[in-house]
């Protein structure tokens, strides 16, 4: 049983990692969501060692520790709130840069840095010339 959960969590993490590395901002968020589900699944699986999940009505025999279910619920709620925050942030970024592509945003930032670099370089040369 544990091995099934382990593979499922690993697969989710892998899919999430693939999405996080993509170029669209919304896909990055989806990647984070999938990775968070991988963590939640691990949390649920971490206590499923003594029997079936403790869901009422309880069957015969021992059931697993229900604490991890409570933790998983908390983690899901926190994850949802944070993802909502991240999506709101992305809306603002898309409005500010008028783009949903990471490359274009990075390009805008690089241009800005290059401009500053040229400025300080020109200043430096003027100072050098004045010193000579």
């Amino acid at each position: 049983m544990t091995i099934v959960f382990a593979f499922a969590a690993a697969a989710l993490f892998g899919i999430g990692a693939y999405l996080v590395l993509s170029r669209e901002l919304v896909r990055v968020v989806f990647g984070v969501v999938v990775i968070s589900q991988s963590a939640v699944l691990t949390l649920i699986a971490s206590a499923l060692t003594h029997g079936p999940a403790p869901i009422a009505p309880l069957g015969e025999g021992p059931v697993s520790d229900p604490l991890s279910q409570a933790m998983a619920l908390t983690a899901i709620v926190i994850g949802m709130a944070v993802i909502a925050l991240l999506l709101a942030l992305i809306i603002r970024v898309v409005h500010a840069y008028r783009s949903n592509e990471i490359d274009e945003i990075a390009e805008a930032e690089t241009e800005r840095d290059a401009r500053l670099e040229r400025q300080s370089g020109a200043e430096h040369e003027r100072e050098e010339a004045a010193a000579r």
Partner: protein
């Protein structure tokens, strides 16, 4: 008991209310400062009572021990909680005096304070994660403060990277529960000894990655310069002086107490990563020309010292790591707060904080470096590394000082009288800690004694 509740509940309740109010009004800003002040007083009262006897452990909600969530106030947690609150109060005062620009700012800083105090004072692993997320969620929004394009894209990077870090942390929490069957940190520390070493090592790596991302150590640093330079000075001070403490605390608490055996195993690797961080941060800081960039790269270098000290281990190593974290947080706060201001006092303060970063007496940084040298006394290579690191920091700090203050390269407005007093008093705190270091030394040694792994 009541002091502990006040320290956690007051900032949380105040933050929830203040987020709803218009923070641009002065009154709201001052209310937030007052709430943080109350929490700080409660923590100091708690610290005096804990210093006299054993650390305080409370099980919340009147549950039997082992069932309820435990809160724990010991010297290590209290020292970090007090440090973070001092930094947050300074940054908040600075921003309130300057004029708050966005309505949520005071409430978010107060919530961040609640999250940080919770992280440092909890004795329960999952509760640690909850407070951790509270602090981080507040700081994701704080990173957008100012609302410029740059701040927004920096906040996006910050939020995405740190979210991944927290999920790695959560994976490790789940694994710990799987192998030990408890969430109580004291219980985990005991049961970890019987766990399969391979599983324990994997868990330890997960925690290390999660906390290194927070600290901005060398291979995990890539988000840090963007965020610290994109954010406003007060936010940069809060992130580097307040939030980054979680990383140092986590490495100390999890490495020194919960996973002491794994820390010992990985000591060499930690020292190597720390050294790489010191050199990388120092060299890149020299290549930069704007003060916020220099300080951001310097932050990467400075946390390297903390990691090296943790790698050395033992009471001396952990003590040095704790002391250096405290001093580094104060230095970074002062440096970031002065980034966009001009004036004679600001120049003096910047130079003095620069002395502290480089480790020149009488600034507190000297004491921090001295402790590091003491911890590394056995190894000539490490002594050389520390020396090179200090030399690099001396060069970058005064290169940027010369550029900003002698050639008037600094953009910004002259500081107001109240802000000068605030920054001056933070600077005096660093001076006082350098001239009379005994209390801080005693505190950091008491904090290091808490960690079980310090016995080796």
């Amino acid at each position: 008991m009541t002091a502990l509740s006040i320290a956690l509940v007051v900032p949380w309740a105040a933050g929830t209310v203040l987020v709803l109010l218009d923070g641009r009004r002065r009154l709201v800003g001052w209310l937030a400062v007052a709430a943080l002040g109350v929490a700080l007083v409660a923590l100091v009262v708690l610290a005096t009572s804990v210093a006299s006897d054993e650390s305080l452990v409370i099980t919340t909600g009147g549950w039997p021990v082992g069932v309820g969530i435990t809160l724990r106030a010991d010297p290590l947690g209290l020292l970090f909680a007090i440090l973070s609150l001092v930094v947050l109060i300074a940054a908040m005062l600075h921003e309130v005096l300057d004029g708050v620009r966005e309505r949520a700012f005071p409430g978010l800083v107060t919530l961040l304070a609640a999250g940080l105090s919770g992280v440092f004072l909890t004795g329960d692993l999952f509760n640690f994660y909850v407070f951790f997320e509270l602090a981080l969620a507040a700081s994701y929004v704080l990173a957008t403060y100012g609302g410029t394009r740059r701040a927004l894209s920096a906040a996006l990077v910050f939020a995405a990277v740190n979210l991944l870090g927290t999920f790695v942390f959560l994976l490790s929490v789940a694994s710990v529960y799987h192998v030990t069957g408890t969430l109580n940190m004291a219980g985990i520390a005991v049961r970890m000894a019987n766990v399969d070493p391979n599983a324990a090592l994997l868990i330890a790596v997960g925690f290390f990655v999660a906390f290194s991302v927070k600290l901005g150590l060398f291979p995990f640093h890539f988000w840090l310069p963007t965020v610290y330079t994109g954010a406003r000075p007060a936010v940069a001070a809060i992130l580097s002086g307040g939030l980054a403490n979680i990383g140092a605390y986590g490495l100390l608490r999890f490495g020194g107490e919960l996973l002491a055996r794994e820390l010992e195993l990985a000591a060499g690797a930690l020292i190597i990563i720390g050294s790489a961080s010191i050199l990388y941060g120092g060299i890149l800081a020299i290549s930069r020309r704007s003060s916020s960039e220099v300080i951001a790269y310097s932050a990467i270098g400075q946390v390297g010292y903390v990691l090296v000290a943790i790698g050395i281990g033992g009471t001396v190593g952990f003590g040095a790591a704790i002391l250096y974290t405290v001093i580094n947080a104060l230095n970074k706060t002062v440096l970031f707060l002065t980034v966009r201001m001009r004036g004679v006092v600001i120049g003096l303060v910047f130079a003095f904080a620069g002395f502290s970063v480089a480790g020149v007496p009488p600034a507190a940084g000297f004491i921090g470096k001295l402790e590091l040298f003491r911890a590394a006394a056995g190894s000539p290579a490490l002594l050389l590394l520390l020396f090179v690191g200090s030399a690099l920091s001396f060069v970058y700090v005064f290169q940027i000082y010369q550029y900003d203050f002698w050639r008037e390269g600094r953009i910004g407005r002259p500081a107001g009288a109240a802000q000068q007093i605030l920054i001056g008093s933070m600077c005096l705190l660093i001076l006082a800690a350098g001239i009379w270091p005994e209390p801080l030394l005693a505190l950091s040694h008491a904090a290091a004694q808490v960690l079980a792994g310090a016995d080796r």
